[in-house]
Symmetry: C2
Subunit: 494 residues, 2 copies
């Protein structure tokens, strides 16, 4: 962590210096000239209109976890508006999914384009009948944003889908390697139809304690965040390894944290090599988000890369939450500058509304219909993703997010010194706006989220008692000041 922060800070300062004029102007003001200047709360949240709207919605669909019903026509930039007319600064951004703020004009333009209309109306079965413009959409939008070392993309429909198709690519890769040049055996062809080995072999995906990788049957088997996600659902008998629990501030705990990461890596390698079934792939988030915003150092992830290389196990980096700029790098794993890139990187949320994975070409199955489904992605979502990547580049939104993250972290550090009880284990230094801290109890945290809304900020939690920040890439110092004011009000009144 220390090492990567230092390196990236240096790099960032160089970049920032070169682009000083552009970065100092407000991109939020240019996107959203009419963005509210402050929150405005008129009713309790949930308010009466939200309650009525939920009652109506409940007739068709069960939404027991709704905080409020939003009016997305009125929401703008970093502000979300609910049906009661409450205007909230949004630092949760649809569970880390809004990249460019609400009603961003560049996305509206993309949504109105002929390409969008065509792809919505004539959705192709891309695996059989791809559209003539898909190559361009992928090449100029998504592949232009690919992390170093990746030349290949698979388009899926959600983060869970991206992770599970990545798992499938890993299982197929491992089986093909073992099989060599031979074809499938008759026994394999027969047994797989009854879900039995050798056709459907016992194999596993290793994930880390407190990680979150999705909620379908494969991805849920790798998810280890909270019991409520997993209870009552059958799961594959897959292994989990410990993820470091670092002590904060990092500067004061260098040796202890080093030992903790060493312990976890040793345990990881032991589990990887001794698990009851062969481990095809390891999946890890750069920051374990849903599980509690746990971080580890660059050296820890390099350790994972070394061990997976040593045992020829596929390394999947799950950037469903961290991808697309929020950590101050376009891809969070770029902070690590690994000796060799991961095998697969999955992403979804801020690329808005589809799942993807980048991989190296070796992970492409050799035969048709192995990685396949009716749609194999969605051009309409790829058009939105491309527009997002292009805007990020044009307006230096990654560098901006790194800068505002540093500003925000500095201010929160000062607050943490003043209110150590409820801003404990402050983490995410040098990681853009991916900042989190622990409250004194789960109850205080839950109440924090509620109070923040009353004071005009829509904020999210994670893990047992953490607050996590996940604003859009259009979040600026002026928004940070409003957030900081609300945070202090809540912790000061505790």
């Amino acid at each position: 962590m220390i090492r990567s922060v230092t390196r990236s800070s240096l790099l960032r300062n160089r970049v920032a210096g070169a682009r000083l004029t552009r970065l100092s102007s407000s991109v939020a003001a240019s996107y959203f000239p009419n963005e509210p200047t402050a929150p405005s709360v008129k009713t309790a949240i949930p308010g009466p209109q939200t309650k009525a709207a939920l009652e109506k919605l409940n007739k068709s669909m069960d939404i027991p976890a709704a905080y409020f019903v939003a009016d997305y026509y009125k929401s703008l930039g970093n502000y979300i508006v609910d049906v009661d007319g409450n205007v909230l600064l949004d630092v949760y951004a649809q569970i880390a999914s809004i990249a460019l703020g609400y009603n961003n004009p560049a996305l509206i333009e993309a949504a109105k384009s002929d390409a969008m209309i065509n792809s919505l109306v004539n959705r192709p079965a891309t695996g059989n009948f791809p559209s003539n413009d898909y190559a361009d959409i992928l090449e100029k939008g998504i592949m232009a944003a690919a992390p170093k070392g990746f030349s290949n993309v698979w388009t899926a429909l959600s983060g869970s889908d991206a992770n599970e198709t990545a798992f499938k690519a890993a299982f197929i890769y491992q089986a093909s390697k073992k099989r060599g040049s031979g074809g499938f055996t008759q026994e394999e062809l027969t047994t797989t139809m009854s879900n039995q080995a050798p056709g459907s072999p016992a194999g596993s995906i290793l994930s880390f304690e407190s990680s979150f990788h999705g909620r379908l049957f494969g991805s849920l088997s790798a998810t280890r965040s909270k019991p409520i996600h997993k209870l009552d659902i059958p799961a594959f008998d897959w292994p989990k390894a410990p993820f470091p629990r670092l002590q904060y501030p990092l500067e004061a705990n260098v040796e202890a944290n080093k030992q903790e990461e060493k312990r976890c890596l040793e345990e990881f390698e032991k589990i990887l090599t001794t698990w009851k079934t062969p481990v095809a792939a390891v999946i890890v988030e750069p920051i374990l988000s849903e599980g509690g915003d746990f971080h580890a150092s660059r050296d820890f992830f390099q350790g994972i890369r070394d061990i997976t290389k040593k045992h020829d196990v596929v390394m999947i980096v799950d950037e469903v939450q961290t991808g697309v700029g929020g950590t101050g790098k376009l891809w969070a794993h770029e902070h690590w500058n690994l000796d060799s890139v991961p095998d697969i990187v999955t992403f979804s949320k801020k690329a808005q509304a589809a799942g993807y994975y980048f991989s190296n070409p070796e992970l492409r199955p050799k035969l048709a219909y192995r990685q396949f489904n009716t749609w194999c992605g969605d051009p309409s979502k790829a058009i939105i993703a491309s527009a997002i990547f292009n805007e990020i580049k044009k307006n230096n939104l990654v560098e901006r997010t790194a800068q505002v993250g540093d500003y925000l972290f500095g201010k929160l550090e000062a607050l943490a010194t003043k209110y150590p009880q409820n801003i404990a284990n402050l983490r995410g230094k040098g990681q853009g706006t991916f900042i989190a801290w622990d409250c004194s109890s789960p109850e205080f945290r839950d109440n924090f989220i509620k109070k923040a809304k009353e004071l005009g900020v829509n904020i999210g939690g994670c893990g047992v008692q953490a607050i996590r920040l996940r604003p859009a890439l259009t979040f600026e110092e002026k928004h940070a000041d409003i957030l900081l004011d609300v945070v202090e009000k809540i912790v000061a009144s505790a």
Copy 2:
């Protein structure tokens, strides 16, 4: 089958009589005044432009199963146009996914609407922050089209996703029933984090031989269509039951088919009650499509309903392919007129580009965050689905499809008598345009699909050696005549 066909034919004739004038005019002509009047093939398929386009696409994404690259801007109505300028009558329709033909003006209008632009640009995390118009979109579009007996919908992102979230609802239902009024035990809370029982219990989903339910880890464990879908991917040890193999023509094999269905139902109940783990749900397609277009009678499905009721096992009808009008009913299971409706009905393809399930309210989990994910569906897709359902209703597209299906089946019956070798086991009578037959060999079938393209028809296969028809709901007698001409040319030249 016999029984339901008779009943539905009677009903249809009554409806058709009442609406004779409207149904006799061409809805294709009114949607698509410039629709081509015939196919036009200029190059080999795949042609040189397709090959160049695939080479370009292949740099970013692996598409080994592509037949050709399509130009969706030029495609219109029932005709798909490829990048070489070949114009093909499309009776495959993106693997049964295009409901209203290419570039349908009603869908273009929906795609240009403010609601669409808003939902594309501000995609909500619906489970936490639903949009104020989602209740209306669901109520007026999707729920208005719900089959009798269903008051509840869950919005997902694909057919696989719809099926897997339905599985989860079933597992949660069964566990809650067993648990009664008590909460989770400490042991459950602990063990589920290691994927072990009792928190992650051993439980199963029963599916049928040759069925297809998707390709993610849970849905793939229920899929039993072809080895290539399943090989090398770990699967849950779930049971499969035999699905009847009926003999055709049905009229000449009444007793034998009755015995076959009886045998399958007995075996089904035996497996259901003796499987090594408790069966939470049974999933079945009304027509086993991908696996080979296998049908069964109304009595067989009533038998499944009776047995699942008897043992309180959830009955899921997978209408991902059959749903939305193609079988001559809006929902294929409506042909059965069961004594009590199924517990869950899943759908996706022709509702275009999202997955859903209808269920009864008992299948709603009692707690928040049990059925949940970042997006919980996609309003932009629900808008398209609503427009599709509304057009279907407005233009009587289900009744029209029933009529054109009867016309087509009659003509194919005549051809089958003339060429019994390569139009064998003709099936789908009274099932709209969901018609299929067997070729004399897998090679002949594969060659049939290739030759049909050369003669101007894009057609699909399924199972080992079947041809399946899956045109859009805008397919009419004039299109059927072109198809019939091409079919005869191919089988006559064999």
